[in-house]
Symmetry: C2
Subunit: 761 residues, 2 copies
């Protein structure tokens, strides 16, 4: 069995030696270079764009402004499966270029030039006139009656408001003796900072447009380009080569429609749109800043009587993934710590800021920040051990979510927490770090999370797979579920090899998706890859195996049920004798003069299940009180992602997610000028992502409880590692410093303010 | 119905505006440039290659010589399907580079450089030492006992000798009163002269080699590279983009193995091998020069008593397609004019000359030159009208070839000839041109041919097809049968649209083959494309339609047998009501939350039939006797290729083939220096292909007798147009001049020699 083994990544060699082809590598040098002119006001209307000077610059091919977008095909950008039900379709509020500027960085014109220098010069030479409107940058301000309105259709800038009601909150809080714990929790605007910025190219083939894009979701991009250009979707072809990360930013349709439109307007000439890092920060997508207000009414014995949550999610200027992120986070609230009386309200609010979209964790890191900061405060107020308080209240074994039907099959939280405690020597340290004095103090803390796998029953989950047998018994595997750096192709190869009965090296996963020939799949998001693709891989491999054994019957006279494929050989079950290699069979089938058959299989599997993934983070910090500086000393993530397909890749996933979580907890925040709405630090010098230099050794541990609904026992692991890191660090900082920092990240500025408030400085 | 309509080529627009991508367009500029060092002796052994000076040239990466080919994996090059029976496999006599030089131009070393200049300089700087052997350039000389031997395993240089025996020739010729007609007929060595020279590139992906090649046969190239490098075939990936013609030269595996080997030896770096025209003439493939000796014993009433044919085919230095070309031509002999007593011998002989391979017509143009020149001579000797003589003796209606089971279903030859005679005003002119005098004389002549379709039962015939439905009801079609400029993709689109019931623009044929994902097909040769692909297209489209209607049942409650697809819409048969568009159905199926299905279909069809294709050429010439100059005044080809899929493309095919036939009849011949074996005129200045300037208006007419074995009634048309042109011109020259020119082409030199011999000059 290869599933469960630490086999090397199938794409490792080429990536290490630099041979792997990314979008830019595939682009011919004859490409025109496109650059976007972004608005330099936060809100208003473009009244004129003067391009005459820019057009004179040698090498400028053409300049397109928002006034050139004649057909207003509003399109959505969220990388969600299409819904046949219009009421469940994503909000279509974008245009190729816009006259109505809704944030500093909105897209108002595009330059196409023969080279990058001319394009950059032209951008600077364009003059824009605006009619400026007032703007708003705070979610709660934006909800007020007199706030500037971003979209007419959404009064009070509320994109959506959803509620959860359980029991009777107002009645429940009347219970005598209850302790009230209340807090406001804020998470920052952060960006994905994948290595490869968004890039795409477009070129026409006949009357069709071929787009090569650094995307997670080629089949969805195809559909959205069709919507944006008002073209039949089949006229669009999208190719996704290897990509340098996505983390959800590339689960949005970013500039593929613009690039395709420019190409189309220029008669089909190859156009390349390579977005610089500065624009990636502002004009791609960001993680929603969410402000949460939680009130818990707790009994002295540490049980909940009633709870209330209000979450205000900063959507920025356009709907993108819309309310689903805030809704997911708020949906986690009553499930993680079940309580009989719950009121929860999720608001997604437009502001004049960069657009919030999908980002690793999809609302759960924000929710876990709020909930796990708040949980720590309850434990502190009750003077209970925070571990014990959690174990008392966390989702119990046998818990079933009525909506998703997800079930807690195992005593997973306890298993994960015990493993983490042991690894970090929690009990000893927790005791030792109580009641410290002095300038340098240490603390230990933790946080838990849950995350679900894929998007059923909210949206469609299906995966198609095709397998093509070669003459040597090797095969190609095609899937719409994309490799985006996470190692999906390697997992697919392991699964295929096991089900079909061939060695790993016999499986060639076709990594590059081409919507013309790749079976339909919605792409990489929602930590769905190994879970959803697993079903179609198993089903398709079994279908191929059935065809192989049926053909083997023609060659061996043995009934298919007496035949099997083991290690690339056809064996007879009765005596385990090797009758022929799969290569011999495949060549015989292909070249037979009696019965020639090219053995292949293709099938769609619709997934009507979902699965809880769980885990926790333990963090140990040292806080320099006078310097307001936090040093992360040790950190452990423990995950139950079911059966691990490849423990080495699983560990790598967790390491990456932990690093992202450390940045979220300690350093990352996109800052805006309140006077103009302009981002201050949209570059990798001023925006501080956590690096290898900032980390202790990252420890990833696993509890492997096989997921019963899963084709290979596996469930979400791509996003979970980011979910509980920041609150764990914050809770460790609390133990060290005695102060609760409720607005992430725990920067020196934040700590200074809080320590001052508490009189500790 | 679209089959039968003159729809525009699906690839026309991009080709006209220059956007179509060929191999060189797809090659990154970072590619190393490979060039081949060819031997400058006709026969011998390389004893030393001095590369030191060449290696010093800046930009030279590495030089590989025949001594660097350590593993001697002999490989075949013929583009034939692999045979599971070793005795039917192609002769494997090539090495990547060879120490044993067998012709002037053999491949002895290769230079890899960073640019073309360095590569060219390095080629010139390499010094080679040889041990020279005697060489032989004439097929009959090569068969003699004391002739130099090219390959040890083939005594007397006979690659193969096959015979046909029917009745008793020796007895039959004893019949009293028989008239003996005997002649020797020679055809020249010619080259295909496709617009795009052979080019390929190779690059590694992981441990696999990706080759992009201007080939007709990507799946076969994959296999042969595997053989040549001693690698599993599945480790090779071959991509065929659009190509600038092939005409059979690219039905050989030319330099893909060398390019792949160089890439492999250089650690997988991208290597480009772009073969110049001069090398294409000599070191690719040529049409076999075949010398035929025919004796016919004819009764005074114009019937045959007995016939004998010996054909000597000049294979050149390596086996390539081997004996199959000569065998095919000789096999035509007893079928075209059936006779009870026949002896035929086909010899394929190695000589120290460029290698003979496949070329449009595959032995039939040579055979028709011999047979139709000879037929004219019989008619002349009998003083019979040549048309009447032919009609008396040609394959009759109901004739069945015992081997191929091909049948003459219709009175096709008469139909074709009558159509041709009418078009060229044959009877009047034939009469008018009898017994001319003066310097300038005119003549009219004709010749017939037959050609079979595809290669069954000699080799495997199977075709696989895949169709993928898009959300808008359009679809992609993938086939291994390649577009090589002949318009195959357009024919496929028409067939698919008709069977599935969609408009033409809904069918996107994936033109580029990629052996990783394209269903297996052997490629473009043997005029098999529309015939063989037609079966798999029909079968796969019906399979897809069945799946679509089954899904339609879920949406409409109507039984599939009460549903149909017409013009891209699902209709109810009972009242012809349009229930939904195919796009609506496809989107509903894909995005259904109840039952999601990506509709596609894939299947293999094995073809166990073959079909006769027939036709004739009529030509009118003016001969300037003192100048020995022939001017072609008028020419008509008439073809029965069954049902025409696209009459406009059919006409274009015939025009191209006629042009090639005119060159064959009047001007083309590759000449060799008898002292060195070097080609004299391996360039497009000295080698005279027929051009637009040399042609009268080319007339193409058709007799459409639907082929009963064919999925769409169609049969061979790709190669037939070249088959009867040259002898028709020669026969017209005979009427004008009174001399029989038996060695093609009818050049002024040839005519001068013959007119001198006959005392006419």
């Amino acid at each position: 069995m290869l599933v469960g083994k630490k086999v090397p990544r199938v794409d490792a060699y080429d990536k290490v030696i630099g041979r792997t082809k990314y979008t830019d590598d595939l682009c011919d040098k004859s490409a025109y270079i496109a650059r976007i002119l972004h608005a330099e006001i936060a809100h208003g209307k473009v009244t004129a764009i003067h391009t005459a000077e820019a057009e004179k610059i040698p090498g400028v091919v053409k300049i397109f402004t928002c006034f050139d977008v004649e057909e207003k095909h509003y399109f959505p950008t969220a990388g969600h499966p299409w819904s046949l039900d219009p009421s469940h379709q994503d909000v279509a509020d974008r245009l190729i270029l816009t006259e109505h500027v809704r944030f500093y960085g909105d897209d108002i014109a595009a330059v196409v030039a023969e080279n990058e220098v001319a394009a950059a010069q032209a951008l600077r030479a364009i003059q824009v006139e605006y009619e400026e409107y007032p703007f708003v940058m705070d979610v709660q301000e934006a909800m007020k009656d007199d706030a500037p309105q971003l979209h007419e259709e959404y009064p009070h800038n509320i994109l959506k408001h959803t509620t959860i009601r359980k029991g009777n909150y107002e009645e429940a809080i009347q219970e005598p003796g209850l302790i009230k714990v209340e807090g406001w929790y804020d998470t920052p605007t952060v960006q994905h900072c994948h290595i490869e910025n968004f890039i795409c190219t477009a070129e026409m083939e006949g009357d069709r447009i071929k787009v090569v894009s650094s995307t997670q979701i080629p089949h969805i991009v195809r559909r959205v380009i069709g919507q944006a250009l008002g073209m039949d979707w089949g006229k669009i072809r999208v190719i996704k080569p290897y990509i340098g990360g996505g983390f959800g930013n590339k689960q949005d349709v970013l500039y593929e429609p613009l690039c395709a439109w420019l190409c189309w307007k220029l008669g089909g000439h190859l156009v390349k749109l390579d977005v610089p890092r500065e624009e990636t920060f502002v004009s791609n997508r960001v993680r929603h800043a969410i402000r949460s207000h939680i009130i818990s009414w707790v009994r002295p014995d540490g049980t909940f009587a009633a709870r209330k949550l209000e979450a205000f999610s900063d959507q920025g200027a356009y709907a993108s993934h819309g309310h689903s992120i805030c809704a997911k986070g708020v949906g986690a609230f009553p499930q993680l710590y079940p309580c009989d009386n719950v009121e929860a309200d999720a608001y997604t609010i437009f502001t004049n800021k960069p657009v919030g979209g999908a980002m690793r964790g999809y609302g759960i890191p924000q929710a876990m920040w709020a909930v796990e900061c708040h949980t720590e405060e309850i434990a502190a107020k009750l003077k209970m051990d925070p571990i014990q308080f959690r174990l008392k209240n966390l989702m119990p074994v046998g818990y079933v979510d009525p909506f998703s039907k997800n079930e807690m099959y195992y005593d997973t939280f306890r298993q994960c927490m015990e493993k983490g405690m042991a690894a970090i020597d929690y009990e000893r340290k927790y005791k030792e770090y109580q009641n410290q004095t002095g300038d340098i103090r240490r603390g230990i803390g933790m946080a838990v999370f849950w995350y679900n796998t894929a998007v059923w029953p909210i949206s469609l989950e299906s995966s198609s797979c095709r397998m093509v047998l070669n003459q040597d018994g090797s095969l190609q595997v095609q899937l719409g579920e994309t490799e985006i750096g996470q190692g999906a192709d390697t997992a697919y190869a392991q699964m295929t090899a096991d089900v079909l009965g061939v060695p790993l090296e016999a499986v060639h996963v076709v990594s590059c998706q081409d919507t013309d020939v790749t079976p339909f799949g919605t792409g990489a998001y929602a930590s769905r890859q190994t879970y959803t693709a697993g079903f179609s891989i198993r089903q398709t491999a079994l279908l191929l195996k059935e065809r192989i054994l049926k053909y083997a019957q023609e060659l061996t006279r043995m009934a298919p049920y007496n035949l099997d494929i083991v290690d690339g050989k056809i064996i007879r079950k009765t005596d385990n004798r090797e009758l022929m290699t799969l290569g011999e069979l495949s060549a015989a089938a292909l070249y037979s003069l009696e019965h020639s058959q090219h053995l292949s299989a293709e099938s769609t599997y619709q997934i009507k299940s979902n699965a809880y993934s769980f885990g926790c983070t333990f963090a140990e910090v040292e806080v320099d009180i006078p310097m307001c500086k936090v040093k992360l000393l040790d950190i452990v993530n423990v995950h139950d992602a079911g059966t691990l397909i490849n423990p080495a890749l699983a560990e790598a996933q967790v390491h990456g997610g932990m690093s992202m979580g450390i940045g979220y907890g300690l350093s990352e925040r996109l800052l805006f000028d309140p006077k103009t709405g302009r981002a201050f630090n949209n570059n990798l010098l001023d925006y501080k992502i956590s690096t290898f230099m900032d980390h202790p050794r990252l420890k990833a541990l696993f509890v492997e409880n096989p997921e019963p609904t899963s084709a290979f026992g596996t469930k979400a692991l791509g996003e979970p590692p980011t979910c509980s890191v920041a609150p764990a660090i914050r809770n460790a900082v609390y133990q060290a410093s005695g102060v609760f920092i409720n607005d992430a990240p725990v920067t020196p500025h934040n700590l200074f303010r809080k320590l001052k408030e508490e009189g500790l400085l």
